[in-house]
Amino acid sequence: MRKKVIFRGALLPYLLLVPQMAVTLVFFFWPAGMAVWQSTLRQDAFGLRTEFVAFENFTDLFRDERYLGAVLNTAFFSAAVAGLALGAALFLAVQADKKIRGAGLYKTLLIWPYAVAPALAAVLWLFLFHPSIGLIGRGFTALGITWDYRVNGGQAMAMVILAAAWKQVSYNFIFFLAGLQSIPTSVLEAAAIDGARPMRRFWTVIFPLLSPTAFFLLVVNLVYAFFDTFGVIHALTQGGPGNATETLIYKVYVDGVQNLNLGSSAAQSVVLMVIVIALTAIQFRFIERRVHY
């Protein structure tokens, strides 16, 4: 689509683009370029000498057991967050889509966690699960379960997954509900008249019609779990205990900001950039396809 009638102007369009381009060049392209360049360099421990090492930072990375651990953590964490957040949201959206009294109120009460920052979501769950001040944390202790997410890696992972997924349910809920409401009633009535049971109707008629939404949400949820959950991990576990909850994004931060290992941190940034580019490409291919429907 393109405008047929267009303004003429030699200078004005460029002037209008200046602010956006200035910010983009200085704060996006320049640092991204530096990340790529730094990923091929190595500094000595005192930052006195820098040498060009080509791909050595990358080969070191893929031999580093701690990095591979972070890869596994990220995979497990992301799959669990996306699965939980999508499953819970789909279930709630199906319920809220039914013709019941108070549907609008339920909707309002289910969407507000979207506004809670990931780090704040983590803090709220900390208040509940803290071993000595939390309601549920003390409940576990009372039941004879040794509960302390600050010591037990599995429990720490469960906590960060729960807090991260909790925050994302609202987003998915809004999209699933919009998807459900766009299914024509005639389709549902036809299935009902054919005598299909509600469960069967859901899996054979409704779910296939929702699958484009579900796929789009899956990609968004993975991006969220990869990149936006830094706050959850930083606020709750700081990647620990040990490295049990250290994800890729958290490790870039630790290596760059705390360990000041710039070459390795830059190489990790480049790996992450490749992942974002791949996920964004998938997302846009899908959106393009949906436009053609």
Partner: protein, 297 residues
């Protein structure tokens, strides 16, 4: 005779089944709502109790009498006597508000202008500019932490409100949204404006801007929440306590989660940090949902 009875019995059974289904639906939704509200409820209640009640682990379920004291402590002094981190919540909330407003308004302003240029003008390099903006989608701050930080040091923008907001105001999503919307403005409008002798800037101000009001509101809601909830960037950029934002400040108050923390004041601060973005979502719900489903991210 028996046929009618069968029909009636069937109808009654179907009515019963529908009532049962309706009750199950309500139960499921109420459970969902409670699961979402539980952590907030506990926090809200905790913020009205004495510090020792929480420290002992007697988790209260009903409000206490210390609300005024706790919120006043959080607002004016912050942290509390047992915490090392003491910045008044009023300062942190003000910083967060400034950050959120500057990011939202800045993103909207520069994206509006660049989308206008790309849609309503023909000029060499138009598509190159468009793709350059588009590519920033793939470079979230999280993947270029260290180099961006170095740029900020070079420009000596560390510990400034400019440094906190400026790098975040480039926006591919907002530009894409405005572009999409501008393309739906009928060509006749441009033609009419040209015939009346109105220049592009006049057209921008008198035609495009008024038509965009709903889009602007929807986008503002989403971007305000985005700005308010920033975490990693303020964590890196701010060492000066008078510039601390509330979300980062809150996790600094908690530290390593020591049971001796002044939890009631921390909880009061958490409630204060929640109110602005949640209020925006609840009271501007229509625009919020429009903004969310149209920016798609």
């Amino acid at each position: 005779m028996s046929a009618t009875m069968d029909v009636e019995a069937l109808a009654a059974a179907s009515r019963r089944r529908r009532t049962r289904e309706r009750i199950l639906t309500h139960v499921a939704l109420i459970l969902g709502v409670c699961l979402f509200a539980l952590p907030i409820w506990i926090t809200l209640i905790g913020s009205t109790h004495e510090v020792d009640t929480i420290g002992r682990g007697d988790v209260p379920l009903l409000p206490g009498a210390e609300a005024v004291h706790n919120y006043a402590t959080a607002w004016f002094r912050g942290g509390g006597s047992r915490n090392t981190f003491q910045v008044p919540a009023s300062t942190m909330l003000f910083n967060s508000l400034m950050m959120a407003l500057l990011i939202a308004v800045g993103k909207i302003a520069i994206s509006f202008l660049s989308a206008f240029a790309v849609v309503f003008f023909a000029f060499p390099g138009r598509m190159i500019f468009f793709w350059m903006i588009f590519i920033t989608l793939m470079l979230p701050v999280e993947v270029r932490i260290i180099p961006t930080f170095q740029v900020m040091t070079d420009l000596s923008l560390i510990d400034t409100m400019t440094g906190l907001t400026l790098p975040l105001i480039a926006s591919a999503t907002a530009t894409l949204l405005f572009r999409q919307f501008f393309l739906t403005i009928p060509d006749e409008y441009v033609e009419a404006a040209k015939m009346d002798g109105a220049g592009p800037l006049r057209f921008l101000k008198d035609v495009v801007l008024p038509l965009s009001v709903t889009n602007l509101a929807a986008l503002f809601v989403i971007l305000f929440i985005y700005g308010w909830n920033q975490y990693l960037w303020p964590l890196l950029m701010v060492t000066d306590r008078s510039l601390e934002t509330v979300i980062v400040g809150l996790t600094k108050m908690i530290g390593n989660g020591d049971a001796q923390n002044e939890w009631n004041v921390i909880m009061a601060t958490a409630v204060l940090a929640l109110l602005p973005p949640v209020g925006v979502v609840v009271f501007m719900q229509r625009w919020f949902i429009k903004g969310l489903t149209e920016t798609e991210k």
